[in-house]
């Protein structure tokens, strides 16, 4: 059970949070092709390594925030608010 640090409530067990998958996905306008729309909806890098994802502190303050996390070791490399620019983290591929 991971320990995630909510930017507002501090470190809590993973089961207080919900993960919504990859973050920093740019939502295209309605004019894009079906293929581009499909890529936006479904296609993900799914890296074995550093993953930028978003979590919500469901059982706490209800806030969404971003996490950079290694999907192999589960090490949390960065936690930042939705409005903060993404910090660089070691080990992130191109």
């Amino acid at each position: 059970m991971m320990l995630l640090s909510c930017p507002w409530c501090g470190p809590r067990d993973e089961n207080e949070f919900a993960c919504a998958g990859t973050t920093h996905i740019v939502r295209p306008g309605p004019e894009v092709s079906d293929a581009e729309w499909g890529r936006y909806l479904f296609f993900r890098a799914n890296p074995k390594g550093v993953h930028r994802e978003r979590w919500r502190h469901v059982y706490g303050c209800g806030q969404w925030f971003n996490v950079a996390r290694d999907t192999v070791t589960h090490q949390v490399l960065a936690v930042y608010r939705m409005t903060e620019p993404p910090p660089a983290v070691p080990g992130e591929g191109p």
């Binding site: 059970m1 991971m2 067990d13 919900a18 993900r44 890098a45 799914n46 993953h51 999907t71 589960h74």
Partner: protein, 416 residues
Amino acid sequence: MKYSALALLRGALSGPDSWSPAWRSPEPKPEYEVIVIGAGGHGLATAYYLARNHGIRNVAVLERGWLGGGNTGRNTTIVRSNYLFPESARLYEFSLRLYESLTRELNFNIMLSQRGLILLAHSRHDLDAMSRWANAMRMNGIDAELLSRDEVAAAAPLLNLSPEARFPILGGFTQRRAGTARHDAVAWGYARAADALGVDILQNCEVRGFTRDAHGGVTGVETSRGPIRAGRIGIAAAGHSSVLARLAGFSLPVTSYALQAMVTEPTKPALDTVVLSPGTGAYVSQSDKGEMVLGASLDLFPSYAQRGSFALTQGILASTLAIFPSFSRLRLMRQWAGIVDVVHDSSPIIGPTPVPNLFINCGWGTGGFKGIPVGGWTLAHVLATGRSHELAEPFQLERFYTGRLIDEAAAAGIAH
């Protein structure tokens, strides 16, 4: 050599040396007609059917670790074809029928145990949903029966049948031909049979890149055991599909999650069927060894770590006790996780990729085991002929652009 009771007797008289290796450990050849990446059930079945159905025997199966060491050996071994949509029903029913003849086909006892799968209805709404499900299965030509509460009780007397239960049991529905099979045996049986047909199974052979021709088509792979050329390449790598896709320069609608399962210490027979309670998430069977096999549930965040979260372990066990309260004093003995490839509609992807000569079988998510025979059959078909098998046509990458998803989980309100 042929396996039989007689062979066992011969082995007893003349010792271990009378047995021959189940498969060879060959050195890689510089080139194969077809390379299959991943020696799990799907990859091995693909190689077997390439040889058996299409006469293509110059085949290598490449495996990073040990054959059958991934999800094939990490699931809860359940086979069934209780699907709503005709497309899925055809696919999984074909798979179940292959399973039904697999022991003799492979001369390897996969211990297919068709002890039935019961889904529990905890509300009248559940009963209605199961009525739809059972009728849809019958439309698809698959056995399905609705069960009264008493029939459920007779099949699994240790269930919590109290009307005061938090999740009372009102009835259920069953597919009697569903059940379990010995997971290792499926991998080993296909491996042995494929090997006997000339397929090279190359273990400890990790794919590190693809070689390409001028048109971008794949011509081979770079591996930890050197480069190997191939005319066509198939990927059957489950949770690692995205990693291989990235090496080949495309992406997939796949996210990898850890699927957790566990067993208790073995006890004498106490449960004679497979029980699934969609309302609580409990999924319980008892193995031939006597262990209660529990799970499987996903840690709901992306993961390539083959271990599960303790919070989920607690959740799985709490759900188990909600329907089997007497299991409280059994002890949890082993717990593990496999990395599964989950797509939005929980249905597989079997067919070409954007890269010429490269084909894929992935997206089985939590249900890959039951799909092994058909996954191998259809990937072999597209590798051999260049055309998708009729059964696999609805299961192409294209559906993520057209929106023609085959979303059993959404329709049935239960994850497969």
